[in-house]
Structures are given as C-alpha cells and as structure tokens.
C-alpha cells in the first residue's frame, strides 16, 4: 500500500469538506480520519513547513510534524491551534491578525467533547447561511462570550473548526454571528 498516496487522498477529501464547512457554517461535513483521529487528519491537511502550530491534548503529533514539516510554537504565535476539546485559554491567546493583514488570524481546531458534555443550542447567522440555522454546540456560555469578543473587530478574528463525533466537521468562520438560545 502506498501510504503517502493515501494521505494525499485523505487530505484532498478533507480539504473539500473544510471548504464546505466554512462556506456553509453550521452544516456538518464528512471527514476522513487519519491515524484513527479526525484532529490529526485536519492537522495533516492544514500544516506545512511555513506555519506554526500549537496542540493541547493527548495525541502524538510527532508523525504529523515529520510529514508536514510544521513546528510547534507558542499559542500567541501559532497559525493553527489544536485541542482535544474546546479550550478557552487557546481561544483567548490566539492571533486575530491585524487590520492590514486579517488573514493572519489563527484557525482553531477543537475536538468534540465526549457525550454528556454541556451543550447549548445556538442560532447562527451570516454569509453562507440561509437566514438562520440552529445547532447544538459544546461550548460554555463563557466560551461563547470569549469567541464573540475575539471576533468583534471584523475582519480581524479567528476561524473555528469542530471535529467529531462520527467523523463530522463543522465550521464557524469569523463572519458567523452566534446567538445563544434561551
């Protein structure tokens, strides 16, 4: 089996899913795992030698580092931030870019917490959403407030991707406004 070729195929499939997830916020997209992990699949897709990343969790990123050439870095310098679960500290420290270069805002990739974790139903509005869409997100109220604050100076801000469960991907770009129901 040509392992490298398989990774390329997985990356291409997941790239389309990422595009779709960010183009249609709130709508889940299929995701192929890599090394039995959806988070590592996104790391393989997103990382390359010229970007820095930061990971907080229990996965082994050694192989991803080897095949992507990306180097681990501090939270406030990372282009991509990964965590097994939604992490307010990473969100708080992530780059939001500058007014001149908002594209340097970080992308955060969080794994979906295990079943039983607190969830909130939210209404999403913004580009890519036909009016309004309601989804359940595994964030605390404090996390929502922090996300709103980090994305308050558009076009500066952060983009967020949630992976799992069941090999699903959900995108929350900085253009999406989130309203917690009830």
């Amino acid at each position: 089996m040509n392992v490298e070729l398989d990774i390329e195929k997985v990356n291409r499939h997941n790239f389309r899913s990422c595009l779709a997830a960010l183009a249609e916020p709130g709508k889940t997209q299929p995701l192929f795992p890599l090394f039995d992990s959806e988070l590592l699949a996104l790391a393989s897709l997103l990382l390359y030698p010229e970007v820095g990343y930061h990971y907080r969790g229990t996965l082994d990123f050694q192989l991803i580092e080897a095949i992507s050439g990306a180097q681990g870095t501090a939270v406030d310098a990372a282009d991509y931030l990964f965590a097994d679960h939604p992490d307010p500290e990473l969100l708080s420290g992530a780059k939001v870019g500058t007014a001149e270069s908002p594209e340097f805002g970080a992308t955060l990739v969080f794994g979906w917490p295990p079943a039983g974790h607190q969830q909130h139903t939210v209404r999403l509005r913004g580009p890519g959403i036909d009016g309004v869409v309601e989804v359940d997100l595994p964030f605390t109220g404090q996390f929502f407030e922090l996300l709103q604050e980090r994305n308050s100076s558009f076009p500066m801000g952060v983009d967020l991707l949630l992976v799992g469960p069941d090999q699903r991907l959900l995108g929350l770009p900085r253009t999406t406004t989130i309203e917690v129901c009830g």
């Binding site: 990774i7 390329e8 790239f15 390359y48 030698p49 010229e50 095949i67 992507s68 050439g69």
Partner: protein
C-alpha cells in the same frame, strides 16, 4: 472591469461538458496513458515543466484528458499540484552530477567525456514520407522515459576548463536563500532565483519567442551552446526522523549553459565570458536553450542593445511566460462582459454625438 451576474444556462453548460467528454472519448478513448507516456514523451516532459509538477503518470493522463491541448494539460498538472501536501524542500541539484543520456557542446569539439549525441531529433530529416521506413528499426528500442539511471554516466560540464582558468564571469549572489515563487510573487528588482523559477515553469513557445527577439534584432544575444545535457538528476531529501540525506528517486532533466560575449567583471575589472543557464523538467532542449538566452539577456546589460529591451527586461519576462496565467487571462474574454460592452457602446454613441461635423 466589472461583470454582471448571470443566472441560468446550467443545463446548456452541463450539456457542453458532456459533449466535450463524448468527443474526447470518441476520438481518444482508445489511447491509454501508457501509450501517451511512451509515445508522446516530449509532450509529457513539456507539460511537467509548465505545470511545475514532475509526474510522468499524471502528465500522460492530463494530455489524454485534454485531448492533446498542452496548455490545458499543463493547467491540469498545475491544478493538481496545488492540492499536493507540501512537505519540504529537496537538496539542490548539481547540474554536473546528472547521469547523462545526451551531452553536446558547440563550443569545443573535444571535451572530457566526449560529445554524446544520445537520442535527438536534430539529425532526423523532417520528411513524413520517410517516417515509416525510419521508425521500423526503432520498434524494439527502450522508451525514452524508461532509460535506467544506472546505465548512464556522469561527465563534467564542457565549460569546466574555462571555469578552472577563471574565464567565466560569476554574477554577484545577493540572496541568502532562493526565492520561492510558489509561495509569494516577488517585487522588483526581481531576484535571479525567482526569474529562473518562473522561466523553468514558463511556456515553451513563449520562452522561445522572447529569446528569439534577442537573436533577431531586439537584443544582441548570439550565444554559443557551451554545454547542453539531458539526463537523470538524483533527488535527495532530509529524512523527517533521522535528518539524514536520503535519495528519493531520479528525475529526467535538461540543463543548458550558453556562452555569450565577454563582459567586464565588476568584482575585479577583468574581462570574462558571460554565461546563461537554462533548466527544465524532462527533455526539452529548445526551452532550456531559450531560458539560458533570456538569463544572459536579463543579467548582462550588454546583450540588450538597440533601445527596445524585450528579452532583457525582467518585467516583461516574469509576467508573460507563464502558460496558465496567460491562457487563463486570454480565455476569460469568453466570459460574459455584457455590462462592460454596454458601457463601450455608450461611450461610442457619445463620441459620435460629440464628433465635429
């Protein structure tokens, strides 16, 4: 420039795509990728360079899918390239370390390693009537793309003796690291590495045309081919875990050094010969020579005389040799420009109204 949003026409567009596929299937459905790779190896080589992706397999598929339209085929490769994972940079390739299948020099008759003619169309009489008779004995030959690297030999550049005698002018290198045009586009003054990369991806016909301007009268380049070589370059990469250099394969390449007239070396005021360099994926002698002439013209001002700099103008070369860009811009004119053309008509009407009787 502005566009008007067009709705509708989805069915017609879908039908057009189906017709195109049906036409290709009818005309080229029996051609296999292997047949393209082995029978049209120079076409594959050409688009591997212009598409900036070395893959004989994908090049053959791209040519088949595009029905032999090489501009389209290069576009396929460039598009595929953009989806490939970027894992790092290989070690630099030394042109003198190629395993040679063909090496000639027009500068010296007797050169170390000898004149190795190898496979070339240079000595073929272009008479279609004689094709069948000439091609018959070649049927048992190994395909050009399949020459085993181990069967080939190393030879030094035919210009090495001149280098050893300090007769070759060396340009100042002001770059710590080579520029990478695949990551960002440079601003003027353009680094030589960026110009070389853009030319290595340049469309063969465009490169030839610009180089030809220099030969024909808008410049002064009439060089001598110092060393033209076709061969296999071994590619080394740092192992991601051990950090050691490992050979990951070999690619077929063409390299050309052309010698121009002498220039005064800025380093010490001595007169030395100027040399241009060309390099392509696969076997593409014409493009490699054209590239070396453009390199000469752009980096040695004495080669662009007559007041009209075309080949010697980096601004012209860097922006006009890329096939995907130029083809895309040209073909975008087929897109609806209904609003802009209406504006043109209004301007025409106003001009006619205001025209003096």
């Amino acid at each position: 420039m502005s566009y008007v949003a067009i709705k509708g026409g989805v069915e017609a567009i879908r039908a057009s795509k189906e017709l195109f596929r049906a036409q290709l299937t009818a005309d080229a459905g029996k051609i296999t990728d292997q047949a393209v790779r082995e029978g049209l190896s120079f076409a594959c080589d050409r688009i591997m360079g212009e598409g900036a992706l070395y893959s004989e397999k994908l090049a053959a598929e791209a040519i088949r899918r595009s029905g032999g339209d090489l501009l389209e085929a290069a576009f396929y490769l460039r598009a595929h390239r953009s989806t490939c994972q970027r894992i790092g940079e290989s070690a630099p390739v030394d042109g003198a370390a190629l395993r040679i299948i063909r090496r000639i020099s027009a500068a010296f008759k007797d050169i170390p390693g000898g004149q190795i003619l190898g496979p070339s169309c240079d000595y073929v009489i272009r008479l279609l009537a004689s094709y069948r008779r000439e091609s018959a004995p070649l049927a048992d030959r190994q395909p050009l793309a399949d020459c085993a690297p181990d069967e080939l030999s190393f030879v030094p550049s035919a210009l090495q003796a001149l280098r050893d005698a300090d007769r070759i002018l060396r340009l100042d290198c002001r770059e710590d690291q080579p520029f990478d045009v695949t990551r960002s586009f440079p601003l003027p003054p353009y680094p030589r590495s960026a110009l070389m990369q853009v030319m290595a991806r340049g469309e063969t016909g465009a490169m030839l045309a610009f180089a030809y301007t220099s030969m024909r009268g808008y410049g002064d380049v009439h060089p001598t081919i110092g060393d033209l070589r076709l061969g296999v370059a071994e590619i080394f990469f740092s192992h991601p875990f051990t950090g050691k250099k490992v050979k990951i394969g070999g690619i077929r390449v063409t390299a050309c050094e052309t010698v121009g007239a002498f220039s005064r070396d800025r380093r010490d005021g001595q007169l030395r010969l100027a040399v241009g360099f060309g390099f392509t994926f696969g076997y593409n002698e014409t493009k490699a020579i054209a590239m070396s002439i453009l390199d000469l013209a752009m980096h040695h001002e004495g080669y662009s005389v007559g007041g009209l700099r075309i080949a010697g103008n980096p601004e012209i070369i860097i922006h006009h040799v890329d096939a995907v860009e130029s083809m895309g811009f040209t073909n975008h004119f087929k897109l609806p420009h209904y609003v802009t053309f209406q504006a043109d008509l209004q301007v025409l009407a106003r001009a006619r109204e205001n025209e003096q009787p």
